[in-house]
């Protein structure tokens, strides 16, 4: 579903490049907000997964339109291209960092539908504002026909967005699905990311463009290595790693986004190109990481079961407790949905772990062993994401003049 949405954004944005300068920015923005609003409503009312995926694709197309149209409109509203681009970039960077945390809170407090139900009024407000904006809101489109100049910065941006798959999606999956945190508690951990992104703004202003890009990409790469090397489930270590990723994101993405825009080639056109490349990076990374996880997780699941069997067989607990606990545990595994870790503590608690210290110690060892084994199955995917950030750093260093041209 995440891939479908981002693929729709990427494809629509890349197709729009040829058209965007022929249609007014306000029209594109208005159309995008309308499509996004209707698709968000459809998502919130979806009754089946295929319908939801289809609605998410339409929503992605709407997002591409509104992102393409909003840049020139913001430029005109703020009175200058750099100011408009700065607002556009900051909103994009902060929004993508905030999304998972906000989604987690809405899911737990209400329902997953609330995520889309909350998006609809925001899009409606945007639509009203766009319609109410003065008609003079339009910037002269540029004269340069080629977007070649922006390629290096866009490649860096695409790679960095690819790396964000590790920060945004894998981290959420790990914290909520594997470690068993509730969506709100998970959001609490992941919210370190947008906070760090915002907090890094003053630092970003003190650095040269190249230093901000390279330092930011290095921090994202290193933060992802730290996520890959999590030795066991630890909210503190994960939050610390995410904080470094957030700072890296806040340093590199705004500068790169600014460099990726070429007003001389048309603000709407170069903005659309950037949106397309960013989401293409996300989609390609998702497409690469999904098979990695699909290979690693079942293997880790089997290893976790075998290690759990070792823990239980060797536990200093009587047979009359050990065997029923083992049978109940096996039942929990059978009942768990694919990709979910069952409630491992329950069989122990049901058989008296509250009053039997040996059984309680066995429970804790078994839970830790399984969570550690599955946590480490994420390692290749995090390292792959880190490699993408490192590649962005290498491209920025190699083509430093062209990146910041």
């Amino acid at each position: 579903m995440v891939t479908a949405y981002n693929a729709a954004v990427a494809v629509t944005a890349l197709l729009l490049i040829a058209l965007v300068h022929r249609v007014g920015a306000r029209t594109i923005l208005g159309a995008g907000l309308l499509v996004f609003f209707l698709a968000s409503l459809a998502c919130s009312l979806a009754g089946s997964l295929p319908f939801l995926i289809a609605a998410r694709c339409v929503q992605g197309a709407g997002a591409a339109l509104l992102l393409a149209g909003s840049l020139p409109v913001l430029g005109a509203l703020t009175g200058s291209v750099p100011r408009g681009a700065a607002v556009w970039t900051l909103a994009g960077t902060f929004g993508i960092a905030l999304g998972p945390a906000l989604g987690g809170v809405l899911t737990q407090v209400f329902d997953w539908r609330a995520i889309f139900a909350a998006q609809a009024p925001v899009a409606a407000l945007g639509l009203v504002a766009a319609l109410a904006a003065p008609r003079s809101v339009a910037l002269e489109e540029g004269w340069r026909s080629s977007l070649t100049r922006t390629w290096p910065a866009n490649v860096c941006l695409g790679l960095l967005f690819g790396a964000l798959v590790g920060v945004l999606f894998l981290a959420v999956l790990l914290v909520i699905t594997v470690w068993g945190y509730s969506p709100i508690a998970g959001a609490g951990i992941v919210s370190v990311l947008p906070v760090a992104t915002l907090a890094s703004r003053p630092l970003g202003r003190r650095l040269s463009g190249l230093t901000a890009i390279c330092g930011g990409a290095a921090l994202v790469a290193a933060g992802l290595v730290a996520l890959a090397l999590l030795p066991s489930p630890s909210a503190w270590l994960a939050a610390a790693a995410l904080a470094f990723c957030g700072v890296g994101l806040g340093l590199a993405v705004p500068t790169l986004s600014g460099a990726a825009l070429d007003p001389d080639a048309g603000l709407a056109r170069s903005g659309t190109f950037t949106v397309g490349v960013r989401h293409l990076g996300l989609v390609l990374a998702l497409a690469s990481i999904a098979p990695l996880l699909a290979t690693e997780l079942p293997t880790a699941g089997r290893q976790a079961k075998l290690r759990a069997a070792t823990v239980l067989l060797d536990a200093p607990v009587g047979l009359s407790t050990k065997v029923p606990v083992a049978l109940d545990l096996a039942g929990e595994f059978e009942r768990a949905r694919a990709g979910e870790i069952p409630d491992l503590a329950k069989p122990f608690d049901d058989h008296g772990a509250g009053s039997d210290p040996n059984l309680a110690a066995t429970r804790d060892t078994l839970v830790r062993t399984i969570e550690e084994t599955i946590t480490r199955a994420f390692r290749p995917a995090f390292l792959f994401s880190s490699a993408l950030a490192a590649l962005a750093l290498a491209v920025a260093l190699f083509a430093r003049r062209r990146v910041l041209e």
């Binding site: 270590l237 290690r307 067989l313 065997v323």
Partner: protein
């Protein structure tokens, strides 16, 4: 201007040092070590179960027996135990039910021999235990072991 840049660069360097320290902490906490307990190889000798009493003795015999059976079948004790639970009959890897049962009985007999040698089972009782292991259906044997362990604990 130069001072501002230097200060920013210094903060950036500190952040890079801090993230390196975080990776160091993770390595110190065992990130590079494999998850414990390691998955034992078939036929690898293990320390015997240390529990006391009749329950401990039964577990020692059963676990040793499972180790022996797993070794004969070319699998691990854990894989064998998980296959017993599968509900599709006693199977392990490509071995059929008869082969698995024979391996488990042979493993248990060897384990009883070891227990007798260690003095865990009196010599006059060992032949009877061996006979039980060789003749009683496995499901009843397991259930009997659990009941006896619980009864005499």
């Amino acid at each position: 201007m130069t001072t501002r840049l230097t200060f920013g660069a210094a903060v950036l360097l500190m952040l890079l040092a801090a993230v390196s320290a975080l990776v160091g902490v993770e390595l110190g906490k065992g990130a590079a070590r494999s998850v414990s307990p390691p998955l034992a190889k078939p036929c690898q000798a293990r320390a015997p179960f240390t529990g006391g009493g009749i329950d401990g003795l039964i577990q020692r015999i059963v676990l040793d027996g499972l180790d022996g059976a797993a070794c004969r079948l070319g699998t691990t004790r854990e894989e064998l135990v998980l296959s017993l639970r599968s509900g599709t009959g006693i199977r392990a890897g490509h071995a059929d039910q008869t082969t698995v049962e024979a391996a488990i009985r042979a493993g248990l007999v060897r384990s009883v021999d070891e227990a007798e040698r260690r003095g865990d089972i009196p010599s006059f009782l060992a032949p009877a235990v061996r006979r039980l292991v060789e003749t009683v259906p496995l499901a009843k044997l397991i259930q009997g072991g659990i009941s006896l362990g619980g009864l005499l604990r």
